[in-house]
Structures are given as structure tokens and as C-alpha cells.
């Protein structure tokens, strides 16, 4: 299900969050559906359970999943909305920031070049 690269510069728990979000947006993880438990995912992916827990805690904090002690973790009803809103907000912030940079005399080409080098 999940495809993590432990050698990537992007932290594994961020990769996991991204993939859960991606699955929700694509309808592969609908509201109320259960996601793998920390322990099973840890075993399947050979990832330290603390890393899985860190990703799940962040998803829970953002209201994308909710955990029921003793039962497991489930996709919330508002998950799709929250993820969509979050991306829209970040893209809006990007537009605002780019506008400010252009006003500050930094060209689009300079900005794009910088992004390519991240």
C-alpha cells in the first residue's frame, strides 16, 4: 500500500503523511475506512513504530484521522475537506509570496531557478 524511501532526504514520517493524504484525495481511503495499525505497518514496511506513530499523531492533530484506543485508526469524515483546504491555502500563500517577491524586484526566472535547486 505505502511506498516509503528511507534513503530520501524527505523524512519518512512526512512521506507517510503525504501518501495517506494522496490516497484520501484519490478516494482510495474513504471516510471511516480503517488504516493499518502502527504495529502492522511497522512490520510490513520495516520502519520503526515510533516513526509510524509520529505520522499518525500529526494526521490526528490535523483532523485527518481519528484513533479509537483498542480498535485502530480511521479516516475522518472531514479528511478530504481538510486536505483540500490545506493545499488551497498553501497555494494561495505561494501566490501572495510570489507577488511580494516580484514587487521586491526578484524575477520569475530567479524564483524558478531557486525552486529547481531545492
Amino acid at each position: 500500500m505505502f511506498n516509503l524511501d528511507v534513503l530520501s532526504r524527505t523524512p519518512v514520517y512526512e512521506q507517510l503523511i503525504s501518501q495517506v493524504e494522496e490516497f484520501v484525495l484519490r478516494g482510495l481511503l474513504p471516510a471511516s475506512s480503517q488504516i493499518p495499525s502502527v504495529r502492522s505497518l511497522s512490520a510490513t514496511l520495516s520502519i520503526n513504530p515510533n516513526t509510524i506513530q509520529k505520522a499518525y499523531s500529526e494526521l490526528d492533530r490535523r483532523g485527518i484521522i481519528y484513533s479509537v484506543p483498542g480498535r485502530g485508526c480511521f479516516i475522518s469524515d472531514t479528511a478530504n475537506d481538510i486536505i483540500s483546504a490545506s493545499r488551497r491555502t498553501k497555494l494561495d500563500e505561494l501566490d501572495t509570496l510570489i507577488s511580494q517577491l516580484l514587487i521586491a524586484g526578484i524575477t520569475k526566472d530567479e524564483i524558478i531557478e531557486r525552486i529547481k535547486n531545492i
Copy 2:
């Protein structure tokens, strides 16, 4: 001195702010030097004095110029530092935001495409 395009989508007062900043960064407007009065610039550029005033107020608020009622407007001692720091901060914010967008599953190409269309 200043070169404004009233037909541009970028507001005239923002163009003026940018150009004052640019001149400061290039050393053409050193600390303590006086910039044209609201009225004289209004006449030279054929721009309403209110528009000039709006740009000058913003520059004053940001500490780049200081205006002395009855005397005129002057480049502050800290102008260069403030402008440089502001640009650095904005570029840092850009890096942070791009990282978050990448984690959110938006690709560099999508981001660059969006920037090109601003």
C-alpha cells in the same frame, strides 16, 4: 528618475515602492538623501499626489524613509539593511512553503507552471 507604467496590473504605488528600494540597494539613494517631494513627483510623473503619498507612507512605515512634515522625505540610515533583510526573509519563506507543497504531493513542475501564470 522613476519609471512608472500606469497601464500595468501592478499598482502604481507598488511600482514606486519597488523602484525606491531598488535605488537604495544600488546605492543611488544613500542614507539621509532627500527624495522628491510628494507634489514635485506628482507633477513630474503626472501621478496623483495621493498615490505618491500612499507609496511614501508605506516606505515610512517600513522604516526605509522618514518623513519630516514641512521638510520632506529622507532615506533612513537603516534603509539598505531593512530592504536586504526583508528580501532574505521572503526567500526563506518561499523555501519553507515550497517544501510543504512538495510534501503535500504537489510537484515542482506544477509549482513552476503556476508561477509562470501569475
Copy 3:
């Protein structure tokens, strides 16, 4: 709602800013609540829309309201915090400045007399 005195030495737009802040601090304008539109307030108070706009722009710049073109102006989630922090900062600056004045040989009585005459 708002109570402005056009004859006061304090500019009308500053009076308006103060009163919005006061209402926020007192909980009369909670986060996300909409404030009157530029035009409606202009009509109600018989104040030019540009003056209202000036106050709203400043409140927006400070993060106390956010304006959505075409929709209206709304109290931000952080409005209360921003206003409180700003006041605390200004009082701290006052303490520092007073200390420097005392060191410079200016007495408390002279300072208080000066304040009374502002």
C-alpha cells in the same frame, strides 16, 4: 456601533482602528465575524469611503482583519493576540525609554508634565 469625532485632532481613521481593536479586546467582535463593508460604514458614519478604506487597510496589514475582495472584511483568528501583544510591547518600550530619560538626567516630574501637555 462606532463613534467617531471628525473634529478631534486624532485622525478619523486612527479613531476607527482604535475602536475596532477595543471591540475585539472586549469580545464584541469575535474571530471570523464580519465587520461593516467600506461603503455601508461610509454611509452610516457619513465618512468618506477612502477614510474607512485607510483604516481597514491598516488593520489588514497588522493581521487584525483579513479582507476578501468581493466578499467583505472579517476579524482574524489571531486578532486578539496581536492586539494584546502590541500593547504589551508598547508598554515595554515605554519602560525602556523612561529609564533612558531618567539616566539622561530628566526627572520623572518633567516627563509626567510633558505627557500631560500632549
Copy 4:
């Protein structure tokens, strides 16, 4: 000549700076006049020489005195102007800050009460 109180909450070096300034403003220490050496003042006042040095360094940094290695420290030609300008600047800052506090809804009485308690 100088009258320092080691028990005061105001640091001794600040007391010394204040008194040099006061003497300059009153014309008791005219331009080019020599002030006591660090060592002699340390002995006369029974103050650690480092404390005297700290005050002199600050006065030198502000252009109020200049030290000639091997000869001693002297009041600069611009001392009086610098001290006067500094006090005027601080009083201007006070006016600005008080105005902002009043706009922020804090009353003169509250400000004066706070100052009395410093």
C-alpha cells in the same frame, strides 16, 4: 567632582555617564577639556577601574569624549550637540510612543501611574 552611589539600582557606570553629560550641558566641562584618567578616578571614588573604563568607552563610542593614548581623555567639540540631540531624540520618541499608547486606548493617567512606579 563626581558623586556616585554604589548602592543605587542604577549601574555606577550609567551614573558616571549621566554626570559627565550633565557637566558638559552646564558648561562645566567645555570642549577639549581633560577629564580625570581612569586610574585617578578609580582611586578617588574607590570604584573598580573596569567600571570607569566601561563608562569612558561608552562616552567615546557616542563621540562625547575622545581618548589620546598616553595623554588622557578629552571632551569632544561636538559633545554638547550630541548630548542635546540625544535628549531631544529620546523626548521625541517618548511623544511618539505616548501617542501610540493613547491611540491604543491606554489613558494618560494609566501611563503616568506606570511611570511613577518605575
